[in-house]
């Protein structure tokens, strides 16, 4: 075969977003020889798009806040399907992780007392999100990036991992290619941390970038790990809807956290018609009470616009379906009539900029048009909560690629905290595992490298086959139309069939040109991952015959607490290379934590 470059590390982190960089820092600080590999340039990962903030019960704005309230909010927001231990660790450790960023140079917005300011977000009892205007993700990634560089961790930029390698049951390394040259590279490493993010690029309307092709999920499945909760996909309620080229681009929840409201074409604040029983006790029942809550949280309850994202996305979907949408097929998000232009520009500078430059809309003067957009996958690699380890020895996962933390629905602000808390844990445990091996390190088998390289080169083998861009669009249409916000048996069954047909088309994809920086080739390789992940989502969604969080079935509209409330769905790779589904009991929280879930606030 063609020659390839070879490197040896203790820990290789795949992905350089918040979780990957935090994992790399932790592994390096634990003494492991560490590398980070990323598909893009350093600092461009999807974390950069996170806007609102990092949820952490520091209590800087409301001293009543603490980890227990955060734990409760997270579990209830996840419709109680979260792994309780992950929610507990996250709520307890997030404040330390935020202060650590400040220690490394992050500059968060401040309270009048000079502490880190915290803002309101959907599903959170108290103002809890540490933030920098509406560009918190950028601050976070830049801080972690600068720390990574300062520590001298090796970074392999524009390098894509296509295969994990194993020595019997253990991970032994990774195989990939340099995007710039198309040359292959092999990493010997007993510990691999997957931090590859999500899967949104399989949908047509998405807030996700080209990188979000589910690589880590597919790598994990093929390596023998399991996935959990894959039926739960978050459609963020507020994506841009016009002009067409920006359809799906995120409009931060901070707009609502800072006072913005949703209206239909009749000018109604329709969210007050959609308060579910589950959240009645903690949601205001009038607009006036909701408005008072921004300044007095003790005597008032949250506005209905700040219900968890799944509730808001479904409500918007319904308003549009029933003919009360905006001219371009969304609804109106109005902050102009509620806050001063100065306040809006100060708190939401990137939103102001984004609408002004891309849609000719001045959000200080007129409402935005928004609609749901595929944003986040709650499901992911099934991991041990404390160590972030998958069931494959040496394989870890943290951040969006891992599952369990968010249950059926993620609260805004809990993603950035998740990246930090579990990124650090994954890095530490991966380093510890590698160190514990001593001389008993797994070895890479040469035939596996040969096999990986021929799979990667397959798209060059033929001429005149399918165009990878065309097949990608076809997949996006299937997932958008048949595995969207509202699902049913007939559509999911049809989706699984169509994904099967696409598999055949993908095997016939051919690409033009050569191996140097060839996006058509890169897409052809990523398509295999998108397909396997799409199949996993559709099959899990078909199996779960209830509605809960980011999974709504119009043929099973009720939440089933007795049966499905006690079960997770696990995806594994069957012998035929396809996803198989099985049920697994939901871990139950210990009594003292279970008691917190019942508490009313």
């Amino acid at each position: 075969m063609s020659d390839y470059e070879r490197h040896s590390y203790d820990v290789v982190v795949v992905g350089a977003g918040g979780a990957g960089l935090r994992a790399a820092i932790a592994a390096h600080e634990a003494g492991a020889k560490t590398a980070v590999i990323c598909k893009s340039l350093l600092g461009k990962a999807h974390t950069v798009m996170a806007e609102g903030g990092i949820a952490a019960a520091m209590g800087n704005v409301y001293s009543d806040d603490n980890w227990k309230v955060h734990f409760r909010d997270t579990m209830r927001g996840g419709k109680l399907l979260n792994h309780w231990r992950m929610a507990e660790l996250h709520a307890k450790e997030a404040p330390e992780r935020v202060w650590e960023l400040e220690q490394w140079g992050a500059l968060f917005d401040r309270t009048p007392e000079g502490l880190i300011s915290q803002r309101d977000f959907g599903g959170h009892r108290y103002a809890r999100l540490a933030h920098v205007g509406d560009r918190t993700g950028l601050e976070m990634i830049r801080t972690l990036q600068q720390r990574t560089v300062e520590l001298g961790v090796d970074v392999f930029m524009e390098c894509t991992v296509t295969h994990l390698l194993k020595d019997r049951e253990r991970v032994s390394g990774a195989f990939g290619y340099w995007r710039e040259s198309g040359r292959f590279v092999v990493f010997d490493a007993p510990s691999i941390v997957l931090a590859t993010g999500g899967i949104g690029k399989s949908w047509k309307v998405t807030s996700n970038s080209w990188e979000y092709t589910g690589d880590g999920l597919a790598l994990a499945l093929r390596a023998g790990a399991s996935l959990i909760n894959m039926e739960f996909v978050q459609f963020h309620p507020t994506g841009m809807v016009w002009p067409p080229s920006v359809r799906g681009i995120l409009v931060t929840e901070s707009v609502r956290g800072d006072g913005g409201v949703l209206r239909n074409s009749e000018g109604q604040r329709f969210m007050y018609n959609y308060i579910p029983e589950f959240f009645k006790a903690e949601t205001s029942d009038s607009e006036a009470e909701g408005d008072r809550w921004y300044t007095d949280k003790t005597n008032n309850r949250r506005p209905a616009e700040l219900l968890p994202r799944d509730e808001v996305a479904r409500a918007i979907n319904n308003e549009i379906k029933e003919g009360r949408g905006s001219p371009h097929g969304g609804v109106f998000l109005d902050i102009a009539s509620r806050r001063t232009p100065e306040f809006i520009q100060k708190r939401l500078p990137s939103m102001y900029h984004q609408f002004k430059e891309l849609a000719d809309v001045d959000i200080t003067k007129e409402p935005m048009e928004i609609g749901p957009t595929c944003h986040y996958v709650m499901g992911g690699v099934e991991v041990d909560p404390d160590s972030a380890g998958s069931k494959v020895p040496g394989l870890y996962a943290a951040g969006e690629v891992a599952g369990g933390m968010h249950g059926a629905n993620r609260l805004g602000g809990n993603s950035l905290g998740d990246l930090l808390v579990f990124g650090k844990r994954a890095g530490e445990y991966a380093a510890e595992y590698a160190a514990g091996l001593g001389r008993d390190r797994p070895e890479i088998a040469e035939p596996d490298v040969e096999a990986a390289s021929s799979v990667a080169l397959a798209p060059f083998a033929s001429d005149g086959g399918e165009n990878p861009y065309t097949v990608h669009q076809a997949l996006q249409e299937v997932m958008q139309d048949l595995v969207g916000i509202i699902r049913n048996e007939a559509e999911l069954t049809s989706a699984i069939e169509k994904v099967g047909e696409l598999e055949e088309r993908i095997s016939r994809v051919s690409v033009e040109g050569h191996r140097q920086y060839n996006p058509g080739w890169h897409l052809a390789i990523d398509l295999h991952n998108m397909l396997l992940v799409s199949e996993s989502v559709a099959k899990a969604a078909l199996e779960r015959t209830e509605s809960r969080g980011g999974h709504t079935r119009d043929d099973y509209p009720m939440t089933d607490y007795d049966f499905w409330g006690k079960r997770n769905l696990i995806v594994e790779l069957g012998g035929d290379g396809h996803a198989t589904i099985r049920q697994q009991p939901l871990p139950e929280p210990p009594p003292e934590l279970a008691a917190l879930l019942e508490e009313q606030h």
């Binding site: 007392e113 920098v132 016009w242 849609a359 165009n467 861009y469 920086y517």
Partner: protein
């Protein structure tokens, strides 16, 4: 409304290349990056281009559109007459890898040379107490999305390859300014930025400020104040004696 857009895109690699004509159908409201994606999907599947967020937040899709350094995702087609040919070329200050993709490793080398944030002796351990008004100056510079358009446009290096060794460029002058103005940083980098990072080579023509997609006032708020602070440290005998920060704040 759909119309046919005529484009010329530079294609080639380090050994050379030239402009190639493409015509693709585009829609109202689209941006230049959309048009480039149409070219990839319909005409040239192997056209090399960097992009990620498509919302002006990641700074990946920098290029020169009709000779002007810009982000392709923030350049709306409606800014250009429909019958006009749009020309897209890679950033000129960096070596071409392929098509619109350039080798920007220069910036990562300069980034690694920056002595990082180092908390002051007064507040060595977070959580820190800092006032909003004091963090705001540095926050402006931390808006930087590292698109490197300022680096690309800076005439000190745009046409003078030999200056690159001694010159960090505007992106890193705002990084030094950010640290200098951080209310709880305890290191003094003023001599370093002047003597070894080339601050003195900048003659404040503001080209960098003009191309910044984040509208950071690079020259007025970072470079000029840094030049003033450098004068303080270099020619003030009292400050010269005590090099650590603390008394230096303007």
């Amino acid at each position: 409304m759909t119309y046919d857009l005529k484009m010329q895109i530079w294609r080639g690699d380090s050994s050379g290349g030239g402009l190639v004509d493409f015509t693709v159908p585009v829609e109202d409201g689209e941006v230049v990056l959309d048009a480039v994606h149409h070219v990839q999907a319909l005409r040239a599947g192997d056209l090399s281009v960097r992009w990620n967020c498509k919302a002006g937040k990641c700074g990946s899709c920098s290029a020169e559109i009709n000779g002007k350094p810009r982000l392709m995702c923030m350049s709306r087609l409606s800014e250009y007459p429909q019958d006009e040919v749009i020309t897209i070329t890679p950033m000129r200050a960096f070596p071409v890898i392929r098509d619109l993709v350039t080798d920007v490793s220069f910036n990562y080398v300069k980034a690694a040379q920056v002595p990082s944030f180092s908390p002051s002796a007064e507040q060595p351990q977070a959580p820190f107490r800092m006032q909003q008004v004091d963090v705001e100056r540095s926050q402006e510079f931390r808006k930087c999305i590292e698109c490197f358009l300022c680096q690309n446009t800076c005439h000190v290096i745009r046409d003078h390859e030999d200056n690159k060794e001694a010159f960090s460029g505007p992106r890193f002058f705002i990084r030094y300014a950010e640290l200098e103005m951080h209310p709880n940083d305890g290191l003094d980098r003023r001599r370093l930025v002047q003597d070894e990072r080339g601050l003195g080579m900048c003659n404040i023509t503001k080209c960098c400020t003009e191309v910044c997609p984040e509208h950071i006032k690079i020259t007025d708020n970072a470079i000029i104040p840094m030049k003033e602070r450098v004068v303080d440290v270099k020619y003030d005998p009292v400050r010269f004696l005590g090099r650590r920060k603390g008394a230096k704040k303007a």
